[in-house]
C-alpha cells in the first residue's frame, strides 16, 4: 500500500534520513522504532509532503513524492502528528470537523462517524464545546486520533502517540489502537516505546541515525538480542 524506496532527507548540510526503504501492506500494522533524533518524524514529514525529499514514495502504486501535503491527504493518508497539534482555539467539535475537511460526506455519514469516535473516546463526547487547547495531554491525543479518523483514511500514521503521557494513559491509547486495528485499518506507528509498539504491530523497522538497522516480523524481533537490549530493556 505504501512503499518507500531509498528515501533521503537533509536539513541544509545535515543528513537526517539516509537510504530508508520500507513498505506497509494493506491491513498491516507496521511500527518504526528509534530513539530521539533517529529521523522518525523526518521520514513521516517526507511521506506527508511537508518537507522535500529524494527517493521515491508511492501509495497504492502511485507516486506521491513531490505532491503538496493536502493532495496526499486527499488520497486517504491521515496523520496524527508528533505533539498532537490539535487546533488550540477551536472546539473539540470543530477540530473533528477539520478532520473531515477533504470528505464530501453527507451530514448523516458525518454524524455516524462522529458517534463512532465518541464511542471510542467517551471523554471527547463530554467536551464537545471545550477549546482543544484547554484539554489535558491525554485528551488532546485522543482528539488528534479522532480527528485523523474523521478523514476516513485508508492509511493512518501515528507519530509517537505515547509521548509525554502517563503510563496508564498510554495503555488506554494503545487499547484504542488495537481496536482501530481490529476494524481493519492499515497503520504505520512511530514509537520510542518499543514495548508498546511491538504489542500491537505485525512488523517492525528500527531506525538509528537516519538509517534502517533492522527489519522483521514482531515475533522474530522479540527474539533478537539487539532489540531486546536496546529497546525492550532486557
Amino acid at each position: 500500500m505504501l512503499k518507500i524506496d531509498q528515501l533521503h532527507v537533509s536539513y541544509g548540510s545535515i543528513q537526517a534520513v539516509r537510504n530508508v526503504s520500507l513498505h506497509v501492506d494493506e491491513g498491516e500494522v507496521v511500527t518504526l522504532i528509534g530513539s530521539n533524533g533517529a529521523g522518525k518524524t523526518t521520514t513521516l514529514q517526507a511521506i506527508c509532503g511537508l518537507i522535500p525529499s529524494k527517493g521515491s514514495i508511492s501509495y497504492q502504486g502511485e507516486k506521491i513524492s513531490g505532491l503538496a501535503a493536502h493532495r496526499i491527504v486527499e488520497k486517504g493518508i491521515a496523520m496524527v502528528p508528533e505533539g498532537r497539534r490539535v487546533f488550540p482555539k477551536l472546539s473539540v467539535m470543530q477540530n473533528l470537523m477539520m478532520g473531515s475537511y477533504t470528505r464530501k460526506a453527507s451530514k448523516q455519514e458525518l454524524k455516524h462517524d462522529l458517534d463512532m469516535i465518541f464511542t471510542l473516546f467517551p471523554r471527547l463526547a463530554e467536551r464537545k464545546e471545550q477549546f482543544a487547547g484547554t484539554m489535558s495531554g491525554g485528551e488532546q491525543q485522543m482528539l488528534a486520533i479522532g480527528r485523523a479518523l474523521m478523514a476516513k483514511p485508508k492509511l493512518l500514521i501515528l507519530d509517537e502517540p505515547s509521548m509525554g503521557l502517563a503510563p496508564i494513559v498510554v495503555k488506554g491509547i494503545f487499547e484504542t489502537i488495537h481496536q482501530i486495528k481490529a476494524n481493519g485499518l492499515t497503520i504505520l506507528l512511530i514509537e520510542q516505546n518499543a514495548m508498546m509498539a511491538l504489542s500491537v504491530a505485525d512488523r517492525g523497522y528500527g531506525l538509528e541515525h537516519g538509517e534502517i538497522v533492522f527489519h522483521d516480523t514482531v515475533e522474530n524481533l522479540r527474539k533478537q538480542d539487539i532489540v531486546k537490549k536496546a529497546y525492550l530493556g532486557k
Partner: protein, 293 residues
C-alpha cells in the same frame, strides 16, 4: 457636543476597523506584516472612480467593483510579492510590501497626477440627519457605520460557521496541522487576502466620498494607522482590532473637538498610542505573545 464627537468617532473608527481587519487576519495566517495594505485601499478608491466616471456605474455597483478589483490586487500582491519570499527572513517580505506600495502609488501619480481631485458625481446628495437638538449625522457617516457593522457580522458568520472560515482559523493556529487535514493552505491565504483587501477597498471608497477627495497617496496614512490599531488590539486578534479601531476613531474625534490647537496633529495620535502600547504592553489589548519581526 460630547455625544456628537463620540458618534463621529465611531464612524471614523469603523473605517479604521475595516482597513485593519485585513492586516490582522493576514498576520494571523501568515505571520506577515502586509505593508502594501494601504495602497490596496487606494486601489479600491481609484477603481470606484473609474467605474463611476468611465463605466457608468452607480455608487453601489462602483463599491462592489472597487472591492473586486482590490481583492484581485491583494491576491496578486500575495502571489507575486510575498509567496516567493515565504520561509525567507520576514524582513524581506516587509521590504517587498513597501516596494509594492511605492510602485503602485507612483503609478497612480503618473496615470492620474498627484493633485487631489473631488469624488466623481454620483447623483447622490449628502444629507444631514438630526437625531436630537445637538446630535446629527450625515448619511455618508451613517452608511460607514452600517457597512462596518454588516461587514463584521458577515465576517463573524463566515469564520464561525463555514468550512472555509473554520479552515482559516485552523490555518492561523497551526499551518502545518491544517495542511495535514487536507487544507490547501495557499487557497486559505488567497481568500484571506481577498477578504482583507475588499474590506479595505470599501473603507477607502466611503472615506473618499465622505471627505470628497481622491489622491494617489491617500492610502498611506490610513494604512499606517491600521498598523497602530492592530498593534493596539493585539496582532492577529479580530476582537482586539475592532476595539482598537473604535478607540482610535473616538480618541481622534474627541481630540479634534476638545483639544483644538494642540501641540500634536490629529494624525499623530495613532502613533503616540503605538509608542505607548509598545512600551507598556507590546502584546496589545487582546494579544498573546508577540514575535520579533
Amino acid at each position: 457636543m460630547l455625544a456628537q464627537q463620540l458618534l463621529n468617532g465611531v464612524a471614523l473608527g469603523f473605517t479604521y476597523v475595516l482597513i485593519a481587519i485585513g492586516l490582522t487576519m493576514i498576520y494571523g495566517v501568515l505571520k506577515l506584516l502586509h505593508f502594501a495594505h494601504g495602497v490596496i485601499y487606494a486601489v479600491g478608491v481609484f477603481a470606484a472612480m473609474i467605474g463611476i466616471l468611465y463605466l457608468n456605474m452607480n455608487f453601489i455597483v462602483a463599491c462592489l467593483f472597487a472591492m473586486i478589483i482590490a481583492a484581485i490586487c491583494g491576491v496578486a500582491v500575495e502571489r507575486f510579492a510575498y509567496r516567493p519570499l515565504r520561509n525567507v527572513h520576514p524582513i524581506t517580505t516587509l521590504i517587498s510590501g513597501v516596494g509594492i506600495a511605492i510602485f503602485l502609488e507612483s503609478l497612480f501619480q503618473v496615470v492620474f497626477s498627484s493633485d487631489p481631485r473631488a469624488f466623481p458625481d454620483t447623483g447622490m446628495k449628502v444629507s444631514v440627519w438630526k437625531i436630537s437638538e445637538s446630535i446629527s449625522i450625515t448619511n455618508v457617516k451613517l452608511t460607514i457605520i452600517v457597512v462596518g457593522l454588516v461587514a463584521l457580522v458577515l465576517l463573524y458568520a463566515f469564520l464561525r460557521w463555514t468550512k472555509m472560515g473554520i479552515a482559516i482559523q485552523a490555518t492561523a493556529q497551526d499551518m502545518r496541522a491544517a495542511s495535514l487535514m487536507g487544507v490547501n493552505v495557499n487557497r486559505v491565504v488567497a481568500i484571506t487576502f481577498m477578504i482583507g483587501s475588499a474590506f479595505a477597498a470599501i473603507a477607502g471608497v466611503l472615506v473618499a466620498y465622505d471627505i470628497n477627495s481622491i489622491y494617489p497617496t491617500m492610502g498611506s496614512v490610513p494604512g499606517l494607522k491600521a498598523f497602530c490599531v492592530v498593534v493596539l488590539g493585539g496582532l492577529g486578534s479580530i476582537p482586539g482590532t475592532i476595539i482598537g479601531g473604535l478607540i482610535l476613531g473616538i480618541v481622534e474625534s474627541l481630540s479634534e473637538g476638545y483639544l483644538n490647537g494642540m501641540i500634536i496633529d490629529k494624525d499623530a495620535i495613532a502613533f503616540v498610542i503605538l509608542i505607548i502600547i509598545l512600551l507598556v504592553k507590546p502584546s496589545g489589548l487582546f494579544g498573546r505573545k508577540v514575535e520579533k519581526v
